[in-house]
């Protein structure tokens, strides 16, 4: 499937700020399930540089704005050819060993409840394959946390989301990473885009899910929020230990920080086959 993505992030400040530094992880990498046909990231008015590809295969670039400024915009536009590989990440170039993804960060640290959820989900599956166990964990998280926007915050932890029983994709991903870690399975947070569909199933266009390490297959994506594995509707952007570490944009305002208003607009649409990308 050919997907067209437009992702605009606008920041507005009540008072002028002295400057801003952003670390941007906004470039999808090629892998078996996706091929990037065109991709541009425009940081209006910023100086950019210090580009590198990190150990996880994600390109990272710095953007700095010198103030005073009250507003800034980061615009992402591109087209990606995708294929459904049942969530399996193949031909992705990276150098970090899976065993590095067992770290309990603040947001994915397991409490007694998450440990219990993991144990109950895997009951009777001792001899099962890693893939079956990963599916069981993902199902358990889908059932334990209902999709409901507006109930959780960006800083909500897996344990808070589970005890509240509601959350958004970030919370599902955190909880899944956490229960996987309890089962000693390496797991990580993945950001990306999801194509809007007409059937009204819950999702967010700016999306997140988890990847679990399955020795026979490699990294496999699990979207507990939508109770499925990523398919051709998904574009994978970047990864990390948790939402903070994987964030597409991590920024810092220099000097005094006034009230910040964030406005994110994401459109992911299927491009009809044969149709050329519009310039």
């Amino acid at each position: 499937m050919r997907l067209s993505i437009r992702h605009i992030t606008r920041y507005r400040f009540d008072e002028p700020v002295r400057g801003i530094v952003q670390s941007q992880k906004l470039w999808p990498a090629d892998c078996a399930s996706q091929r990037v046909l065109a991709w541009t990231v425009t940081s209006h008015g910023a100086q950019t540089g210090a580009e590198f590809v990190d150990g996880a295969g994600d390109m990272i670039r710095l953007a700095t704005w010198r103030g005073p400024l009250t507003e800034l915009t980061v615009e992402v536009e591109g087209e990606v050819e995708t294929a459904d590989l049942y969530g399996v990440l193949r031909e992705h170039r990276e150098r970090i060993p899976p065993s590095a993804y067992l770290r309990p960060t603040r947001q994915v640290e397991a409490d007694a409840e998450l440990k219990m959820l993991s144990a109950v989900a895997l009951k009777g599956l001792d001899g099962a394959s890693a893939l079956d166990r990963a599916h069981a964990l993902s199902r358990a998280v889908s059932e334990a946390i209902a999709y409901k926007p507006g109930e959780t915050q960006p800083h909500t932890t897996a344990s808070e989301a589970l005890s509240g029983g509601v959350g958004v994709c970030q919370d599902h991903a955190h909880a899944l990473i956490s229960v996987a870690h309890v089962a000693e399975m390496p797991a990580r947070y993945v950001t990306g885009y999801l194509q809007a569909s007409a059937d009204g199933s819950p999702h967010e266009a700016s999306h997140a899910w988890a990847e679990i390490w399955v020795p026979e297959l490699g990294w496999v994506g699990f979207d507990a929020a939508n109770a499925c594995c990523p398919d051709a509707r998904y574009v994978r952007l970047g990864s990390g230990y948790d939402a903070l570490d994987a964030a597409p944009i991590r920024g810092l305002v220099q000097g005094a920080t006034p009230e910040e208003h964030l406005d994110v607009e994401v459109m992911v649409t299927a491009v009809q086959s044969g149709q050329q990308q519009q310039q």
Binding site: V21, Q47, G49, A50, S99, L102, R103, R250
Partner: protein, 474 residues
């Protein structure tokens, strides 16, 4: 308690005889009237206060205004003794750096089954953000502090390695400075190798690892967390000696491909940062988001070759107490040599058999936390009563992975000034090895001394002091 107590090696004596290395000092001590001694002791204290060196060594915290006791009786090493330490410390620094370059790249030592993967990759000090990047010259730890103890004339052990930002070198330099000022005669009578080349060698080392994008003379800075830090004195002292700027995070910023320093003449590019800030705090956009001490974006500039950070982020994985056990293996694996300096035999409570042994023999062992430092959170078995031992045993049972144990070594002792004259007190030694284009080691180091009679804990937070350390010329 063990029935037989091993004899303590007194570095000044050979049986009843004063060893030749100490003969001058023994005469010096004997001919010094008591009044002169207390006069000199006061003078030393005043000098230390004047230069402002009042910090706690090795990031132990505590009162930053407190003076660490200075003992005027120098410790002496012969040329021959030093030769072995010199080779051993350099060998260790080379192997630790080879290990770091390997675990952040191909992980050959893990593939070869010589060290368990989880001890490395699941280690708190292992930085995912350092994987797949080779710092200039492949060096991760540019200043390696190796803590040594001695138990006999030829028996030295490595207690631990410090690959991040070992502190205390300013004491090594100031102890010498003050001794030379107070007792110039001593330095004319003995041929003592100088240590004052350290700052020059440090600067040369830092310049030799300038990033690929740097052309011409590299601009070096020392990045300090600020004057509230217990080692702030050392940061400013080293900056002064090297003639480089001492900066805080707020003095630096990132723009384009580089790190810049704010100056009155406008921004000036920075090429090499000798940072005295922990990994977690150096870049809030990569590590702890709440850090106010670092420079946002620094890691990106580092990874894209615009600046060198010394020590490299992630260097700490080599000096972890659980990794320590494997350093002899690293030396064999990377250098194809046998270790010149021995490790202290160590039981890892993470291993079931080891843990069982440790719990059964607590009264004879020293138990430490894997990530602990500064002599806190440890158990010195022979010096502890039954209830202390029992409550410590409970802690080990609860979280065995967090503890290692070692035998109580009969640490060597050096003559030290006490109320009644001189008496032997236990000592350790930290030489500072510099790794860049070449490996450099000034002859000497920081000797810490346990001032309390019989005490084995030399940490300044637990009543330890410092001494000038002499290495005699050939």
């Amino acid at each position: 308690m063990s029935a037989t107590k091993p004899a303590i090696f007194n570095e000044m004596l050979n049986g009843e005889q004063v060893r030749s290395a100490y003969q001058n000092l023994e005469k010096w001590y004997r001919s010094m009237p008591a009044e002169l001694r207390s006069l000199k002791q006061n003078e030393a204290e005043a000098l230390f206060r004047r230069v402002g060196i009042t910090f706690a060594v090795y990031g132990e915290g505590g009162d930053p205004e407190r003076l660490i006791p200075f003992d005027m009786f120098p410790r002496v090493m012969t040329a021959e003794e030093w030769r072995k330490l010199d080779r051993g410390v350099r060998q260790r620094a080379a192997a630790l750096n080879a290990f770091l370059a390997d675990v952040y790249d191909r992980r050959e030592i893990i593939r070869a089954g010589r060290i368990p993967e989880h001890l490395v990759t699941n280690n708190e000090a292992f930085e995912k953000a350092a994987i797949g990047f080779r710092p200039p010259r492949g060096v991760f730890s540019h200043i390696v502090g190796v803590d040594l103890v001695r138990t006999g004339p030829d028996q030295f052990y490595v207690l631990e390695d410090n690959c991040r930002t070992p502190s205390g070198v300013s004491y090594m330099l100031q102890n010498r400075e003050i001794m030379m000022r107070m007792f110039p005669q001593l330095f004319m009578e003995s041929r003592i190798r100088p240590v004052d080349g350290y700052a020059g060698l440090l600067k040369k080392t830092l310049a030799s690892v300038a990033p690929q994008k740097c052309q011409g003379e590299p601009n070096i800075v020392i990045l300090t967390p600020g004057h509230f830090n217990s080692a702030y004195y050392e940061h400013s002292f080293l900056a002064d000696l090297m003639g480089v700027e001492l900066v805080e995070g707020q003095d630096l910023f990132v723009e384009g491909d580089f790190v810049w320093m704010k100056t009155t003449e406008g921004p000036r590019k920075v090429d090499v940062i000798y940072r005295r800030i922990d990994d977690a705090f150096i870049d809030p956009l990569c590590f702890r988001p709440d850090s106010m001490l670092g420079v946002p974006g620094l890691m990106s500039v580092y990874r894209s070759g615009g600046v060198t950070i010394c020590s490299a982020p992630g260097a700490g994985v080599a000096d972890d107490k659980a990794i320590y056990t494997y350093v002899p293996e690293m030396i064999r694996f990377y250098l194809g040599e046998e270790p010149i300096l021995e490790n202290v035999p160590t039981w890892q409570c993470a291993k079931e058999d080891d843990c069982k042994y440790v719990l059964e023999n607590l009264s004879e062992l020293v138990v430490k936390e894997v990530h602990g430092s500064g002599g806190y959170g440890m158990l010195v078995g022979p010096k502890s009563d039954k209830s202390t031992i029992e409550s410590f045993a409970a802690k080990i049972r609860k979280n065995p992975d967090n503890y290692i144990a070692q035998p109580t070594l009969a640490l060597s002792a050096c003559p030290t000034f006490v109320e009644e004259g001189i008496a032997p007190r236990h000592v350790d030694l930290r030489p500072y090895c510099l790794v860049g284009e070449t490996i450099e080691l000034v002859p000497g180091g920081l000797t810490r001394v346990a001032l309390k009679e019989g005490s084995l804990v030399v940490n300044s937070s637990q009543g330890g002091g410092v001494k000038d350390t002499w290495v005699l010329a050939e």
